[in-house]
Subunit: 277 residues, 2 copies
Amino acid sequence: MTEAADQTKRRPVRRSERMAAILESLTVQSSVEVSLLATRFAVSEATLRRDLGLLEEQRLLTRTHGGAVAQDLAFELPVRYRGTQRRAEKRAIAEAAAAEVPIGPHVVAFTGGTTTSEVARRVTDHGELTVVTNALNIAMDLVLRPQVKVIVVGGVSRPQSYELVGPWAEDFIAAVNIGTIFVGVDGISARGGLTTHDEMEAATNRAMIDRAERVVVVADSSKLGRVMLARIAALDVVDVLITDSGTDVDDTTAEIDAIRALGVTVVAVTAAPATER
Amino acid sequence: MTEAADQTKRRPVRRSERMAAILESLTVQSSVEVSLLATRFAVSEATLRRDLGLLEEQRLLTRTHGGAVAQDLAFELPVRYRGTQRRAEKRAIAEAAAAEVPIGPHVVAFTGGTTTSEVARRVTDHGELTVVTNALNIAMDLVLRPQVKVIVVGGVSRPQSYELVGPWAEDFIAAVNIGTIFVGVDGISARGGLTTHDEMEAATNRAMIDRAERVVVVADSSKLGRVMLARIAALDVVDVLITDSGTDVDDTTAEIDAIRALGVTVVAVTAAPATER
DNA sequence: TGCAGATCGCGCATAAACACGCAATTCTCA
DNA sequence: TGAGAATTGCGTGTTTATGCGCGATCTGCA
């Protein structure tokens, strides 16, 4: 498990990598030591203390004498540390999703999730937009872009997910009209519809969908056929599903066909090959 | 338009290709180095930094020293948007502000600003709290803490300031009850009251103040006696002002006395013993 | 409680990485 | 073919990351 398997890097490891590695260690180990980390990364202990200090400042761990221990929250890493999985797929999906947004002024909405975050970044490259979202991380990303007007749906934040949910969120949403919404889900299937693991999130996402003219679901192929606890909506509200043609072709295509049969336009992208064009 | 005309390319490696390749590396690698990329593409490091700069501008990655990391695992300090000015003062003010919050469950609110952001961090070190804020950066910071319940006021984000404002924000606020609110201002004076440079912000802040039982203003001494365009409220709504005893003692104390005369409890902290650089 | 050793925080020095402006080159388009 | 724009490399001064050494602080043990 400890792929701390020393690569015997003569060269010291850069700060960003060190910090990521430290956090990852803490998800399996619950505590780390300054001296060991210093050896592992081939840097001085002073430098390592600085790293730990920075991480502590962000509340991602707690310093102790001789090292650091995990913060409760470090077990469920926030979005930005979870993103490494299926990144190529997400990116390809995001490219395709950008094509769903018409040129010119338009109101686009995003629910939370790593895939939707990626989509949000791509989509907002293309001109002036108004964006509605209940995901804090997406809002933070977009707020710096002058050509994008960002409307954040108020509400209560579920820890671990940057999403704002609850009755306040739903009241807020009722006052907004959305052109195209990009929905991230934990599961999508012909039988189960759109599902997610959290019931509050499901209700809020449903409210947003109800206010949208056009519903686009973005989900990598691992979500296909999966059914989670909370149902967001049935598939008949969905206009388009953008996914990737995963590796296990059998199940994937079967499920895609079933979804198509329900009237959903399915776009299956191929995750980035060696190079594009 | 530039890269649309992607025709024959036999020269080294062009910018658009480099950028595509960099992004692709990041889908597999999570971090890249300037020096290695420069070698790989046979261009100078200066050019590569420019590439990375452009990509960062589009939020497709995050620069680090010596390279870049994929966007979703960038760890930056949320409150970066106004450097290190008067950091010692803000810190000292934040310490004092933490004392204003009673032990035990309590609803605390924060408006936007660098000082309030610092206060929010300190205050939430001390146990269980419910936090209401219209500042995206504060929300992002606190959402990581399991012991804090974060309620974000929905609304439209003003560019450059992470603050959510507007009529939607005010409607939202009307449904919330606040115990103690920490207000950041651009100016505070006996004559002008609490002021800020943006009128939307002023209205939203005012709405939050109206819902609070206790109003604490946090402002470093450079704000004392200043009057900006938009008035948030008169001083009679303020219970406490926390500031620092600045360098030019004459003006500062005069203004503080005037504010005290209006019934405001003024706490003037001394900026950190540590040297400021 | 008091002591020894480990750990820490902090300031300083150094080297790497950086941003910026300028000039030379290459490319685009008419 | 030539003018204008974009791209690139280099040199400048500035910022950032790192390692070392000092005195202060903490941990563990008697």
